[in-house]
């Protein structure tokens, strides 16, 4: 069975169904979208249980010729890392639909359009994580921008058009650099092994170090914009501030992961030597992102922008883990991507409910919510604890793995990164105190607590955050072989401990 194609086709079928529904019937569109995302999630889980976790080969492989004259193939396949990210995406999708049940109402276009865009986006997300043909990946990478652009520009708030254009221009710029690198790879392949875009084949190319460095940068800059890494981050706060909470969840929770995923799958696999060359520089950028993002988050007055900056700090951790080139850092980084998806989803969704009730996203406009809307306040608090990586919650496991893995190779970087945990306490506890604690301030007295739909939407998110904190093995068992394989491919082995080194092991 062609699992991956099926997963990509299902949302499109849903989108088609919605497109023939009458425009006036928004409820039908919502129900159809919700049902579709549930079916996709179910199908993905069915596929995931068939995944052989100890097999480091690419699985669920599909390959068909697409544009034969250029050697372009429709080639799909996933390893443990891609599987985890696809799982993240398809699990978040129904939650986003259910949580943002009324998000489509403030847009330029109808609810139908909103859900069609969302489902098309889901197809492309599955595609971008499972493509094994570099050109196909590029197509998904760029095409993904279209639905997001319209979701922000058409259904967002405030300066939505400007934010959407900024997002688009940034991404197109990165994409252009990547395209140049892809074309160069194609040329090289023609010289060495015959024209191809096949990822596995391209990873065996030989090139001189200057070429490799340039091609690496083409990919890396595109991914660093997407992730985003300091100093290429400034599109993200604007986009997050303008997008609807659900779109922000998909944008920060899933789409940005394409950046960090790309660093692992493309930068490290295609350019192992350049990866080594640039690692110190990237680690510095990652550390700046951790600390800078945290300080900026502390300084924000707007809740959406604050959450966006916390993500910049978190993406710093993910990048740090990837380029620590240790199995703990690498596995930790992928686990971090999954956990960050859920913890950011919780922050944006609950924060979104707070903001839509209050009609403001300014932190100063809230006050004393714990006494007015206890369920909303406490769920937001748990989401916050997850964001600051409290032990016992899922993000702690991934953050600690990243740090401990980094320490074994780059102790100074790990020490600097550890400062991030103190700053995280500040950027979470300051808004918690302002919005949830203190006396109930005017304008907040009459707010209503979470309704049943909202509770049902957020419960699985919090359950996953808590469950994976205590029992991350189901994910780690899938991630570990792929992460170890990735590092080995790049020519790295884990540093041995001091006493083992002494014992000559």
């Amino acid at each position: 069975m062609n699992w991956l194609t099926t997963l990509m086709a299902l949302p499109l079928v849903g989108a088609l169904v919605i497109s023939v529904l009458p425009k006036s019937n928004a409820l039908a569109a919502k129900r159809a979208a919700f049902a579709t995302t549930l079916i996709v999630a179910g199908a993905t889980i069915t596929m995931a249980v068939q995944f052989q976790r100890d097999n480091v080969e690419i699985q669920f492989v599909e390959s068909r010729s697409w544009i034969p004259s250029f050697g372009i193939k429709y080639a799909l396949g996933i390893d443990g890392i891609a599987l985890v990210l696809i799982l993240l995406s398809v699990l978040l999708a129904p939650i986003v639909v259910l949580a943002g049940w009324n998000e489509s109402s403030g847009g330029r276009w109808s609810a139908k359009t909103f859900y069609i865009l969302l489902l098309v986006l889901e197809t492309m997300i599955v595609g971008v994580f499972s493509a094994t043909d570099v050109f196909l990946f590029y197509v998904f990478f760029e095409a993904m921008l279209v639905p997001v652009y319209f979701l922000i520009g058409g259904f967002g708030t405030g300066e939505r058009s400007a934010a959407a254009v900024k997002f688009l221009l940034y991404s197109l710029f990165g994409g252009l650099l990547m395209l140049a690198s892809i074309i160069a790879l194609y040329v090289l392949s023609g010289e060495q092994i015959g024209h191809t875009f096949d990822l596995a084949a391209l990873s065996h190319l030989t090139m001189d170090s200057t070429t490799e460095n340039f091609l690496f940068l083409g990919f890396f800059i595109a991914f660093a914009i997407k992730a985003p890494l300091w100093p290429l981050h400034t599109w993200l706060p604007d986009a997050a501030a303008s997008a609807t909470p659900g779109t922000s969840v998909l944008l920060l929770g899933v789409l940005d992961k394409v950046g960090t995923f790309g660093m692992i799958r493309y930068c490290m696999t295609l350019f192992p030597h350049a990866t080594k060359t640039f690692t110190p520089m990237i680690i510095v950028l990652a550390l700046i992102s951790i600390i800078y993002g945290a300080f900026l988050a502390i300084g924000q007055k707007d809740l959406k922008r604050l959450i966006a900056f916390t993500s910049i700090s978190h993406f710093g951790f993910i990048t740090l883990g990837i380029f620590s080139m240790t199995s703990q850092g690498q596995s930790g980084a992928t686990l971090y991507m999954f956990n960050h998806g859920f913890s950011t989803a919780a922050l944006f969704l609950i924060g979104g409910w707070m903001m839509s009730r209050r009609g403001s996203s300014k932190i100063a406009d809230f006050g004393g919510l714990q006494r007015v809307t206890p369920v909303m306040a406490w769920t937001f608090f748990i989401a916050g604890m997850s964001s600051l990586a409290l032990p016992g919650l899922s993000s702690f496991v991934s953050e600690f793995l990243v740090l401990v893995g980094t320490y074994t190779r780059y102790p100074v970087a790990a020490v600097i990164g550890t400062f991030g945990i103190v700053l995280a306490a500040l950027y979470i506890l300051i808004p918690v105190q302002r919005a949830l604690h203190g006396p109930v301030t005017p304008g907040n007295e009459g707010l209503s607590d979470l309704n049943m739909r909202e509770r049902i939407a957020i419960a699985p998110v919090l359950a996953i955050i808590i469950a994976l904190g205590f029992y991350p093995s189901p994910l780690l068992n899938v991630i570990n072989p792929a992460a170890a394989h990735t590092i080995a491919q790049s020519g790295f082995t884990d540093p041995v401990s001091q006493i083992d080194a002494k014992a000559g092991k």
């Binding site: 900026l296 596995s331 032990p391 401990s497």
Partner: protein
Amino acid sequence: MTSNSLVYLIALPLFGSAVLLLAGRRSDRWGHLLATALSAGSFGIGLMQFSQMLSRSNEQRAVSQKLFSWISVGSFEVDAGLMLDQLSICFVLLITGVGTLIHIYSIAYMSHDHDRRRFFAFLNFFIAAMLLLVLGDSYLNLYVGWEGVGLASYLLIGFWNQKPTYATAAKKAFIANRVGDMGLSLAIMIAFATLGTVSFAGVKEHASQASTGALTAIGIMLLVAATGKSAQFPLQSWLGDAMAGPTPVSALIHAATMVTAGVYLITRSNFIFDAAPTAQLCVAIIGAITLLFGAVIGMAKDDIKKALAASTMSQIGYMVLGAGLGPAGYAFAIMHLLTHGFFKAGMFLGAGSVMHGMDDEVNMRRYGGLSKFMPITFATFGLGYLAIIGVPPFAGFYSKDKIIEVAFNAGGIKGITLGVAALLGAAITAFYMTRVVILTFAGSKRWDDKAHPHESPFLMWGPMALLALGSVTSGFLFTHGDALRNWLAPVVEQIPAHEGELLSPMIVSILALVLVVLGVSLAVIKYFLNEVPETVPENVTIFTKLARRDLLQDAFNEAAFMRPGQSLTRALVKTDVAVIDGAVRGIARLASGSGKALRTTQTGFVRSYAMWILLGAIALIAAIWMVTL
């Protein structure tokens, strides 16, 4: 040996907190009873384990339970595992025993609070987290409990967080603790990089093969962690503010148990500190500084809870000092920790009882002569008082004198300096505790007629009486036949007592007693024989003024960290918009030829977007077509 019941120690109170939080208001009527019963159940399991331990030989007493593999990546393998040995059982009994008493006390103390159920949910959560802290079999498991108790402490300090100052106090505690937690994180990372393991057993086994430098680094980082959690210098400033929490919380978390976790961490890591003398010396120095720091602040506080909090800081200083003295001191550090658990928890509950009868007044200048109205509170508080100042045969006499003695016998200038500091601390303790007792219970009344002081109900004085009993007897029981030292011997390496001693126990006791009498006399002269002003006297020495301002701890932190941090944040926020985003916008404008072009993309954005796509597609096809030629 393995035991399958360890997990229930933690599971019972954890279950309780989950039920109370999820059931919400539905459990208002019975929530406190369930929480108390589960805490008592945990105590029951602890007693059962203890009796089973007693029936085995001293080398066979430790039991463990592996639950599942928690995190396993490459060679980093951490199990969710529990371990109960001679050291952790002391804590288990203290946490669940005193914890249950405080649950009972709180039923009455919090009876008028609208959110009593939530209070009990947090208390149960605290018990579970604290038990995990002392039962975890690796540093990483301990870490989960370590931050868990920090969270419980945050939630309970801020229990009445509708008051902004209380919310701020809670946040301050969490952040000071997080600074300490950084130390614990780094200690674990260094341990893994050096020893390849983070379990207690593994680290103990391999520590001797590691370099002294690495062990010193681990030790110093563990000390940083301990200073945060145990309110030791220089991370002590949160504890005074933490008194914003309801008084039972101050008794349980901020006196008897959580704040002593640093002492547990250091004692548990004895195999690291014994191999890293520099780190061990740092521990002793920090302990000595803090015991004096807290004692000095204690002299100047008029708020009864803050006076007791300063005292807690100081007494934990004694414990840290003891633990910093190595094998000779570990057992006495733990002994003082346990006796302090009794007498300080008892006195805090006594303070709560006084507040309960005085409309939540905390200012001791508004008390006076309360012994007539609250005889039981006075009696139990008084017994705790005798224990803390170290009058024989009360508990503190045994535990504190031993630490002073070991300090003197540490040898050389180090021994004399630490010993003198500890002795001086004893004198100051006698002074400030006498001051508290006189201001509260003796002298003439300074409260107005609106207050109607009365004795607290049985549910409150019962626990106080039991803790007072502990304050009287525990010291004797622990030292009788060196019971606690022998008990702990398999966990902490021991050296024979009385080896090359500078001062004999008798001389230390006499010296200490003389200083205690001196401290008590000064306080009696100043506060009993002289009039106590109802308002705070302003014509005082600079020394008193500094002590009132907590020796400028907050002023220092604000000047050194908070305000520069705020300025930096503001500057970065401005830079991000003006410089980084500005540069990007500038480049974009440059690239698009003029600002006008960019504006068009923003106005007719759908059409422009289509054009972009078209251009991109053309470029793509053209590029591929060209290179295949």
